[in-house]
């Protein structure tokens, strides 16, 4: 593992050039194609950009992330790369503009390595819903990396890129981060622009970052937060620097341990590991107390009303008329639309479109959609009540380690339940993180979830950083994928 600060220092001191760094990473990406983490990847384009960046470094340019390689989840549109959202529907889609997240990171000096595989339209918890095949977890190739940002998590865990963008609707950053043993952060809803981020469920979708450490995640995240005039739902973030207090002691911070989450994992290895991580936080001076989120068990039912409802609306734009896949088999306009959608969407988007259409249909709207919006408010209020007395909440990210490829593909309900602990914070729009904190019985990584109050990303990053200063879980790489600075020379 190489920290971004060290990488920036070596780039600035000319111990390594951006071109040399990118050639090493390109070789790693090419040698690890079996992970299926990258979709669109253009080495010659990367080298061309790296040459430009080396010139900027020589000219003394001080962009905050100058020369830092990054790869983008294929949910963010990019001018220079195809954007598929993991779907046949967008198999050859070229965007005439960059997503704001991509543009801001380019402006900050990053160099794009390529686009990363994900579940189709970010719908899934294992990356097995990608039209382009599943991503493999570098810790065990027979297991899933989590989803929907599985390509992002696997690429960072395998040191193919030090940083990746990702998105989280019900846990799509935290769950894969936990399964792949890396650090992932989903910021406060609205704090990162979604202009150019392919929409799934608009009241939940949020962009975030996957990294090797809390410090790296914060360093990159602070470059993408903030109001964007191109996204009317983006908001001003009161903190522009998320890492200035990252080293602050956490002594006296009140941390709530979510009882309902713990009850679900009692007597398991995950429980032991989570409690051991909590003990470390206590050793750092945090005050730990068990707390209750009485309505959190309703998170999954609420989510599977609201997310499919919004998905059915958002995905209605794919009609074969304006862009995306168009069936060759039609004799009139209606046929063209129906056949394009039926041939272009995979099973999971179709399932969610149908559920969404049903819950929004006449006679069912109040019973499902309106009711779910009310329960969502109860879940949000549970969190806000706790944040009157606590600085942060912690618990597991997932109840278990990464499961085997194919284990849950025939059982959508079992797959949906993977997100039991991540969905509540998404429904409330709160910032949340996953940081690696140990290994389970199958020797796969397990993550600790931290949930903060609105706009308290800096506190989450601070607590995670202090934990990572006294532990080594985040420094571990899967066998055969470790990378030191010496390996780059």
């Amino acid at each position: 593992m190489i920290s971004l600060n060290l990488l920036r220092e070596h780039l600035n001191n000319k111990k390594i050039s951006c071109v040399e760094l990118c050639i090493k990473l390109i070789n790693r990406i090419e040698n690890n194609k079996n992970l299926n983490a990258f979709l669109d990847f253009k080495p010659e384009k990367v080298i061309e950009e790296a040459n430009n960046i080396d010139k900027q470094i020589n000219d003394g340019d001080k962009k905050p992330l100058l020369g830092i390689p990054i790869a983008h989840k294929d949910i963010f549109v990019t001018k220079d790369y195809i954007t598929t959202a993991g779907s046949k529907m967008l198999e050859n889609y070229r965007s005439p503009f960059d997503a704001t997240v991509v543009a801001k990171l380019k402006d900050a000096g990053t160099i794009t390595l390529g686009k990363l595989n994900c579940d189709e339209f970010a719908m899934g918890s294992s990356n097995e819903n990608s039209f382009f095949g599943p991503v493999h977890n570098p810790w065990d190739l027979s297991r899933v990396p989590g989803g929907s940002s599985g390509g992002s998590a696997a690429a960072v865990a395998a040191n193919l890129t030090p940083i990746a963008t990702a998105s989280d609707t019900g846990g799509s950053i935290r769950e894969p981060a936990s399964f792949c043993g890396i650090t992932g952060i989903k910021p406060t809803y609205g704090s990162v622009s979604r202009w150019g981020m392919v929409a799934f469920a608009s009241s939940l979708d949020q962009a975030g970052i996957m990294a090797n450490s809390s410090e790296d995640a914060g360093l990159v995240l602070q470059n993408i937060i903030g109001k964007d005039n191109l996204d009317g739902t983006s908001i001003h973030h009161p903190q522009s620097n998320l890492i200035q207090n990252i080293n602050r002691e956490i002594k006296g911070k009140k941390i709530g341990l979510i009882a309902e989450f713990l009850n679900e994992i009692k007597n398991s290895k995950t429980y032991e590991i989570i409690m051991s991580a909590v003990k470390e936080l206590e050793n750092l001076g945090a005050l730990i107390e068990e707390v209750s989120l009485p309505h959190c068990s309703y998170g999954i039912p609420v989510y599977y009303v609201l997310a499919p409802a919004e998905c059915s609306s958002n995905l209605s734009r794919y009609d074969g008329v304006k862009f995306g896949f168009r069936s060759k088999n039609f004799s009139n306009l209606e046929d063209m639309i129906v056949n394009s959608r039926s041939e272009g969407f995979g099973p999971e988007p179709k399932r969610r479109i149908l559920i969404g259409t049903y819950v929004l249909s006449q006679g069912y709207y109040d019973a499902y959609y309106l009711k779910a919006q009310k329960v969502r408010n109860l879940i949000k209020k549970d969190f806000l009540d706790l944040f009157n007395n606590f600085d942060c909440l912690v618990g597991p990210v997932v109840s278990d380690e990464a499961f085997s490829l194919g284990e849950k593909t025939n059982d959508p309900i079992s797959m949906y339940k993977s997100d039991l602990f991540t969905i509540p914070a998404s429904l409330a729009g709160l910032p949340a993180m996953s940081i690696p904190c140990g290994f389970g019985n199958k020797n796969m990584p397990i993550g600790l979830q931290l949930i903060g109050n609105y706009f308290h990303e800096n506190l989450l990053l601070n607590i995670a950083h202090k934990y990572q200063q006294i532990t080594n879980w985040h420094k571990l790489s899967p066998d055969g994928y470790a990378l030191s600075f010496e390996d780059l020379l």
Binding site: T188, Y189, G190, S203, G232, V321, I337, K350, K371, K374
Partner: protein, 95 residues
């Protein structure tokens, strides 16, 4: 319990075609998902307001419209299968 006929009606509203050999499996999955989401019915929400967005009170939804150059004809041409005289050329659907 939703019948196959109802699912086909919903599919038609969603502009999706369901094949005869997948309808039974889909109906089974659909009903299992409905069982899962029906759990919210247990809760009394008579005194609770619905929220459509987690930060309802914090977000401004509108901005002043200002004229600016967005995507040019040149870009449209580069990114379109067929583009002529500032228009996208599409298949004829009206005789």
């Amino acid at each position: 319990m939703i019948e196959n006929k109802k699912i086909l009606k919903i599919a038609s509203l969603a502009r999706l075609k369901i094949s005869d050999d997948s309808i039974n499996l889909l109906a089974n999955e659909f009903n299992n998902i409905l069982k899962l989401i029906d759990q919210i019915d247990k809760l009394d929400t008579s005194d609770t307001l619905p929220i459509c967005h987690p930060l309802e009170n914090l977000t401004s939804y509108s901005k002043v419209d200002t004229k600016h150059v967005s995507i040019t004809d040149k870009t449209h041409r580069n990114y379109s299968p067929d583009f002529k005289d500032s228009f996208f050329v599409v298949p004829k659907i009206v005789e």
